[in-house]
Symmetry: C2
Subunit: 431 residues, 2 copies
Amino acid sequence: MKTYIDQLAMKAKKAASELGVLNHEQKNAALMTIADLLDEDSAIILKANATDIQEARIHGMGEGKLDRLRLTEERIRQMAQGIREVANLPDPIGEVIESWEREDGLQLQKVRVPMGVIAMIYESRPNVTMDAAALTIKTGNAAVLRGGKEALHSNQALVAVIQKGLSQSGLPEYSVQLVERTERESVDVLIKAKGMIDLVIPRGGAGLISHVTQNAYVPVIETGVGNCHVYVDEFADEKKAIDIVLNAKVQRPSVCNAAETLLVHRDIAQKWLPSAVQALIDERVEVRACEKSVDILKNHGFEIAMPAYSGYGQVCSASDSDYATEFLDYIIAVKVVSSFEEGIKHIQKYGTRHSEAIVTEDEQRAAQFFRYVDAAAVYHNASTRFTDGFEFGFGAEIGISTQKLHARGPMGLREITSYKYLIRGDGHVRK
Amino acid sequence: MKTYIDQLAMKAKKAASELGVLNHEQKNAALMTIADLLDEDSAIILKANATDIQEARIHGMGEGKLDRLRLTEERIRQMAQGIREVANLPDPIGEVIESWEREDGLQLQKVRVPMGVIAMIYESRPNVTMDAAALTIKTGNAAVLRGGKEALHSNQALVAVIQKGLSQSGLPEYSVQLVERTERESVDVLIKAKGMIDLVIPRGGAGLISHVTQNAYVPVIETGVGNCHVYVDEFADEKKAIDIVLNAKVQRPSVCNAAETLLVHRDIAQKWLPSAVQALIDERVEVRACEKSVDILKNHGFEIAMPAYSGYGQVCSASDSDYATEFLDYIIAVKVVSSFEEGIKHIQKYGTRHSEAIVTEDEQRAAQFFRYVDAAAVYHNASTRFTDGFEFGFGAEIGISTQKLHARGPMGLREITSYKYLIRGDGHVRK
């Protein structure tokens, strides 16, 4: 396995050194060619995908997961369109980030450069393959893609199209490579390939991510785990609060920026919570409520289910572990807090530093929330669902970082670049 | 050990959450107090340092290392002055890096925030303790300092002064803590304290650095290993080339931005190399020369020593391993290359991506060198010795990064910060 990965990584390193110095036009032309080939070769890709789907069915994959794995004519068209959009974005490489001159005339420039070789480790969605390829080619980085076993045939067909497009455009074919050996071991070897790979981005569940951060020798950017909160302050506008909680929970519950816990200040809970919970139930959300919320809801005639028998659209009692859970489902934990400070402390304890929102009409409270909450994205009177590269206007997204080093929050093109200093003298020496 | 480190890290985390929201005045006042206390308590610090020096002597530490460990009245005054200078630097925390508004009125700000808790792992120089404390306090980060065993008493005395200054100024005392257990194990536990420590910066030899990157769960910034080259092009100005090579090698050979290998284009080697080597020998540098250089030097009457008997101020034959060695000493490897491309390839093979220089009057060559050399700092007609936070105008330096993630090259205040997005809406939800 080590020989296999090393060879892949060496080819990637060589490709990166060629790719990194290409101009915008060359990289964009290759992206356009790949987009066209994707449309042309869609039948081949669909056939490969059908094999994956069939095998996944045999192995008992559920319908939700099957849907994420499935490609269609329409999805391939969207992929191709996505690549064209990336081609049309400004190229961050070569940007002069800063420049200055010393008194002695020495001139310094800080210039954006590619990261080098980026390894992506991800699960079953084949569109990640194409996204990662487009963003790395655009930024002059070489990519080593380790997708999930379930999507192997699809990924092979996609990478074949990418490599064909690269060759046709005169770019190094190995700028994008797929790790075709999908044993767990290939991950372990890949993340130790220091000196050849410059960055690893794992995308997937908490287990994959902690395995990678604990075992990698290569620098890692952690992504995606989001235990996000909406805190409804005593000074909240009731209508905005309901809109935001509903949107944060149900607009797309399966993603990392969806809300998992609703915190409510006790001074607004009596009058606001019942209508909020009703709205959630109407959307078939299961509400796991703290003792105080249960009391309030009972007083308003809500039925409280036994936790073991509770389900979508019902209310039951919350346990402590609910506050620590990223449900990624139509489930929300609710907690009444006695003060703003208790709300902040709850977020500090259970939050994953992803996205946190306050609903309040009090500007000072909002300012304090901004100050004291340590997360990639902190919201005032807006839904946590906006934490996304496209919503932020980056035009692309390769993941959402939940660490503080290098990149935080949505990562677009700039977030997978580095910089170097170019210094021009005329025989300058240090005194 | 784990309990000991965990307690330290928990205190640091708590301190960081308080420190991170303080304003400039509060942090600067604490720095000024620490500087004053350092002057006042210098006798205590010198006494502690004398104990370290005495023990180090008993253990047979050499004079060079002893000098790095030694504190004097004057060095303490300089430390205090350094802290006052850091206090006078602009505070990067709170800086709005970018801000924009979406068409729907949602407002986004990207704001600079502290990293959180930073662990520093370093060797015998006690001034690193004070530098790290000043830079982390200034940026609202808490610091956990794991200095070398040899400097333990000195570091204890310094951290006592720092903590006294913090308390007197109303800042959390545990903003700066020393790991007083200096067994190797304390490093291993520290670098795995994920969730409590946000960043580890190892400063020291290649062994320490690779141990940390291979075993850490916490994100790491690698520092310091510098196998730097000066490439003298066929179109070089001969005088500038000699000035730059001499400065890069002998102005301070023990540091990471000093040059270790001189590459010379063959078309200039005949006439330029003998005078360059003479100048190096005059400065007592040992020159380890490739076969071609040896031929040229012999023709010019230089004596060539046997490698085993060679020493300062002499010329001998280079072996391949010399090109891979960071001498950090009055030793330089010399290689004649047949072309510009061969020079670039040599740097790609042996360089550590730290600092690389070209000497040439040909602008196109310089532009190509800037393009193809992948290093933190790339120089045209200037010495590699400028790769330094102070020389770059950062006003401070916590180390020189040789990785591409997060920070590259000299790290000042901004390089130990992160950012977060603050998003203001008015009931905004995602469509």
